[in-house]
Symmetry: C2
Subunit: 520 residues, 2 copies
């Protein structure tokens, strides 16, 4: 254990003792401290490969084992980093914020309980979208999932990180309805109506009596979610919509200003995402088929790629779910609105129950093909995302795009950007695709990312989610009242986790015990 | 100040010093400690008139004054009981849980900021539904409110107590999008994107970065909400629907089982409430016009009243908001579904923009006429509500009704009950109307209420909200894991409010400083 990464102030001997205690409590087959184990829990898309190395990992299979692990963590003051399935690859994957933490891998907790009358699933964190999809198919249940673009991850884990999907249930964190949580001191709580023994409404009414806790366990380090109820969308009678392509970068303004009001009105109940040509092209081709010039792509190359695949500079898909007659009435409104802003292409799509179904995010089918984009540059590919929040304002969106696009050119990177609607906001997701075997490129990522954060800060645009490397940087940008909300979070953190053992540094929330670890 | 109610361990001299400190900080015109002041802040509908008496009240007009008041409260250890406008009359009104508390009356904080592009209002707690309605009318803004049955209260205050309205925005607590909060130790925080200085998305994206706090300040005593963003519904192009009456108590089952799936499907986006004949009749007539017999009403009297006003045993209204063509398509589905279960009366209703508008809860118009029901018995009327949460299951709803109706008869009370839909739950709101000048009746209310709590507990049905008298009783019924969630709440309470000055006892959450005050 000589070269094992350790938390500050730790000795290898103490970690070895902790390892033995984990083995005694969980069994040796659930404890992983070999060199190869450690590597397997590192960040696959790391920008700086030297960071965020775990000391090891443990994989409990029950709530009781999670409690036992927490007890040992408190005894030895070992920081634990809980992951569900660890598949949020653009944000750090399985790796802990604080090097030397022990990964608490919950992927073996895979229980599914299904309330088919109400469309509520009670899930453990190890249940992936594929698992739940298979369960639904096998039991022929009339519900659809809300899957993210890469669906190998955990259903709960995605929602706990505020990931999104394509359907009207796409803001996955809003589908939580009651949780079971192991607190940092080892007690178990149930939230919402789960606090009322045997309440049949645990998965039906989200708030319970008094303050409601679910969102406090999202993007936080206040507890380990060992079970959560989530609402699923009833299978619709019909799915209608359109895929629409626009020719010019400037068209972004009209797209946002046309779709925004329809979304805020809730006529459009699903949250569309406007993506640029590279989002479409990067899963169809690779860069070297078009050019070997370094730096950002020329307009002539972009035009050639777009022409070959017949894609717009921007594209967006709109979808309607529900009764066929209702969808038809809504479709007419959408069709008129979108035609008015002159797309280069508008392709209608329609499905009615009984017809063969398209297997895509629109029908809640798990998928992984969007990850092909990491092959864009060749070499060992990867990406991280920069995702600030904007108002639904076409002018502001266009300015944000122009500012960001100029930075991509300045840093010699190919622009993959999207503007994803929420009900009243936009998330400007900028994927930075990179080639880990290109050291020159890898050296540019960090200054590039920091520049984008600073640019957005000047506009008042904060990120909704970020990679481990930037959790402190982003937390620092949430600066109202001298960082008053962070101070509140840390006061609660210290009250709930006096030894600071649970995910120190998550979302920039540091317990007093690791005060010195915050990055300036 | 000899007879002034005081918190445990307090002396009149110390309260007098605190009063002087409040006067020095806020000005004498914002501090109320006369006998008449105290009476005016008591519970108007109190079952036991001796309880919940405040020591006095203060009415700051700005965030800075709220902070100054909190500072003084900590200095003197005076418990403060914040109210917005104090109009939730069935739950305690202006009165504090702990006798001797000082009411922190925020009704003079009445600022309105309106983001007309996005339909977001930033409100102070003193803004009532009438104020906001007037503002919208005056500025001709294309947004509708979600008003509760009695609309004299605060918009924020209602949502902070999880009150509901009639429109698709009817679950008012879900319309919060960022708050400004004074913590019990005097610091101010802004939640969600408010934590990011000058973010234009404060009122647009509810979660921010990291754990989301808004729901932690709902039904809680963790902070004083001095400002909140709320989403408003865009004015619809059309409003369509139907008022439907059913003849027999047993029809409740089919009503729930027919409406529930349409609601869970989100075809019906507004949450209907099934009410019994007395909900309709109690605002049209009074009891003495029909009988002078004490005890629960005979079936013959009920039949006579129903016949005269042509109302069903149960009635329900369904409403659709949005584009006219869409509403027409949805209406057809609702009409078929409701006709299939054979109502005694189905009255369609329709409105299109430009036509004269019905002034009702359906159009978000503030109103107070439902409060007429307190005149039912004659004398000084009042009511409290018993409101357990059920699944959307017709059989269970009918059983709950039958059980409760039998108790109303046993305790000699006239039954006013409703089953209000949420998206996946039902709230069974039982109004206990009483005559405060009938001591025999008033003596029955408390045992009656406790019996209903125990009956519901046996079924797993917990209350979503309750009167001051029953906050501890209801909190006790949330007993999973030995009251694990309450213990978590109290751990956070003690961390945020070490002196226990803010609303001790709210929702059954007691700080250590008032440990002895919890009712068994």
């Amino acid at each position: 254990m000589a070269d094992i990464p350790l938390p500050p102030g730790f000795t290898a001997a103490k970690m070895s003792q902790a390892q033995k205690a984990f083995e005694a409590a969980l069994g040796a087959d659930k404890v992983f401290f070999e060199a190869l184990d450690r590597i397997s829990y590192q960040d696959k898309f790391a920008i700086d490969e030297a960071r965020h190395h775990p000391a090891g990992a443990i994989a409990p299979t029950s709530v009781e084992e999670v409690q036992a692990a927490v007890k040992i963590a408190n005894q030895f003051r070992v920081p634990l980093w809980p992951i569900s399935r660890g598949k949020n690859l653009g944000y750090g994957g399985t790796a802990p914020e604080l090097a030397g933490s022990v990964v608490l891998d919950l992927s073996r907790m895979k229980k599914i309980e299904f309330d088919a009358a109400n469309g509520v699933v009670t899930l453990e964190p190890g249940v992936g979208f594929y698992d739940l999809y298979d369960y639904i198919q096998q039991h022929k249940l009339p519900y659809w999932l809300s899957t993210p673009g890469n669906s190998w991850g955990s259903v709960i884990g995605n929602a706990l990180d505020r990931g999104v999907g394509y359907t009207p249930y796409g803001e996955n964190t809003k589908n939580f309805c009651g949780m079971e949580v192991v607190l940092p001191t080892g007690e178990v709580v149930r939230t919402g109506m789960g606090a009322f023994s045997n309440a049949p409404t645990w998965g039906l009414y989200p708030f319970g009596y008094g303050p409601a806790w679910d969102q406090m366990f999202v993007q936080s380090n206040f507890g380990i979610v060992t079970k959560a109820n989530m609402w699923l969308m009833p299978e619709p009678e019909s799915l209608m919509g359109m895929d629409v392509e626009f020719d010019r970068p400037e068209d972004l303004k009209a797209m946002v200003d046309t779709i925004g009001p329809l979304r805020r009105e809730r006529l459009l109940q699903q949250s569309p995402s406007i993506g640029n040509w590279l989002r479409a092209a990067a899963v169809l081709t690779t860069r070297k088929e078009w050019t070997d010039k370094p730096g950002a792509l020329d307009d002539s190359v972009i035009s050639a790629i777009r022409k070959k695949f017949n894609i717009g500079w921007w594209g967006v898909s709109l979808r309607l779910y529900g009764r066929e007659e209702v969808n038809k009435a809504v479709y007419k409104v959408l069709e008129k609105a979108m035609s008015d802003i002159k797309p280069m292409l508008l392709k209608p799509t329609t499905w009615v129950k009984g017809q063969p179904m398209e297997y895509s995010g629109w029908t809640g089918t798990p998928m992984t093909f969007p990850m092909q984009n990491i092959n864009w540059y060749g070499g060992r590919g990867g990406h991280i995302g920069f995702s600030p929040l904007l108002p639904q304002d076409g002018t502001k969106a266009l300015e944000q795009f122009q500012r960001t696009y100029a930075r991509y050119k300045e840093y010699g990177m190919d622009y993959q950007g999207s503007f994803a609607f929420g009900e009243r906001h936009l998330v400007n997701v900028n994927a930075m695709i990179f080639d880990k075997d290109n050291p020159q490129m890898m050296g540019r990522i960090d200054p590039f990312f920091r520049t984008l954060v600073a640019d957005a800060k000047a506009q008042g645009y904060g990120e909704y989610r970020t990679h481990l490397d930037y959790m402190d940087l982003v937390a620092e940008s949430y600066d109202w009242g001298g960082g008053a909300l962070r101070k509140l979070n840390e006061k609660v953190k210290n009250a709930l986790d006096p030894n600071g053992i649970l995910a120190p540094g998550k979302s920039g929330i540091w317990p007093t015990t690791y005060n010195g670890e915050r990055k300036a």
